[in-house]
């Protein structure tokens, strides 16, 4: 990758992370305060940012960071009430170079998400 392109990409990643941090910290605060319904669209917005950040990090060659942001995206989608997208992102994260301890935790998160999907299918 050309030096200029890499720099521009790094700057874009930083900007996206700053925006996402504001949104995600809001979602977390609202949820902790028991304002789950108000938090739901904020979770979805944070998740969308995390997905984009992960793709940019892939392009930048930061595979581990990309995988960690996919975990965060999945976790946000799950809280936004979208276990289907969360499942896909947990799987995508597991394809990345995770630490063994992280891999186990993400497998547990994926399993919880799949249970949610099965429960939803049963009700539906």
């Amino acid at each position: 990758m050309a030096k200029g392109t890499a720099k521009a990409l790094a700057r874009q990643i930083e900007e996206m992370i700053t925006k996402k941090t504001g949104i995600l910290s809001k979602a977390q605060a609202l949820a902790t305060m028991g304002l789950g319904e108000t938090a739901q669209p904020v979770w979805a917005s944070a998740a969308s940012y995390e997905e984009q950040i992960a793709s940019l990090l892939d392009a930048h060659g930061d595979d581990l960071e990309a995988a960690v942001h996919r975990i965060s995206a999945a976790s946000c989608y799950q809280k936004a009430g979208d276990p289907s997208r969360a499942t896909n992102l947990y799987r995508a994260a597991l394809a990345g170079p995770l630490r063994e301890v992280t891999r186990k935790e993400v497998e547990a998160m994926l399993s919880e998400c799949l249970t949610l999907l099965k429960d939803a299918a049963r009700v539906g």
Partner: protein, 191 residues
């Protein structure tokens, strides 16, 4: 020698961390602290392995936190709507944000969502920050050990700062520590 004193208003954390949504944490802090005493709330802070220009060679300091009357009014309302556990956790985040600015300037904190918890990290310095709080002073040691273990298991294998706050009638305390994650031979980082 007397421990160094750090004095600030909790509302300053909003200016120090403008990209984070800090206001509810500030209000939560006041909601918890004002149950124990009027302003200021005083904390004994023990610092372990924390390299800080402000701290010098000291391993402890005192923190004195003030708040504004309008924040106290907001805190009254929040107290009636939130349970103690999450309130104390949020209050502890506000305190950690003071330490992460004034004792060790960590730089811009990023937040990630990781299952049931929020993970704070500083990308540029390759650090993570774990935070927790309790109103049971006897739990401080155990809670700190748990957080250290959790911090060392961070997905990146980065070094970690841990802040655990204990609010108590007998005197508030904070444990602030830094932990390295050692490299092992196969590239996997381990404790």
């Amino acid at each position: 020698m007397a421990a160094r004193l750090l004095r600030c208003a909790i509302e300053q954390t909003m200016d120090w961390h403008p990209h984070l949504f800090v206001e509810p944490h500030v209000v939560a802090f006041v909601a918890v602290a004002k149950d124990y005493s009027p302003a200021p709330a005083r904390f004994d802070v023990s610092c372990d392995n924390v390299a800080s220009r402000w701290l010098g060679n000291a391993s402890e300091c005192r923190l004195e936190v003030w708040w504004h009357n309008d924040t106290a009014a907001q805190a009254e309302r929040l107290r009636t709507t939130m349970q103690s556990g999450p309130l104390v956790e949020m209050a502890s985040v506000a305190l950690a944000l003071i330490l992460a600015k004034r004792v060790v300037p960590l730089g811009r904190l990023e937040v990630l969502d990781y299952g049931a918890r929020a993970d704070y990290q500083v990308r540029k310095r390759k650090l993570v920050l774990e935070i927790s709080g309790t109103e049971v002073p006897a739990e401080l040691g155990r809670r700190h050990r748990e957080k250290v273990a959790q911090a060392r298991d961070n997905p990146y294998g980065w070094d970690a700062y841990v802040v655990v706050c204990a609010f108590s009638c007998a005197g508030h305390r904070i444990r602030f520590s830094k932990h390295s994650v050692q490299e092992t031979g196969n590239g996997e980082r381990d404790r």
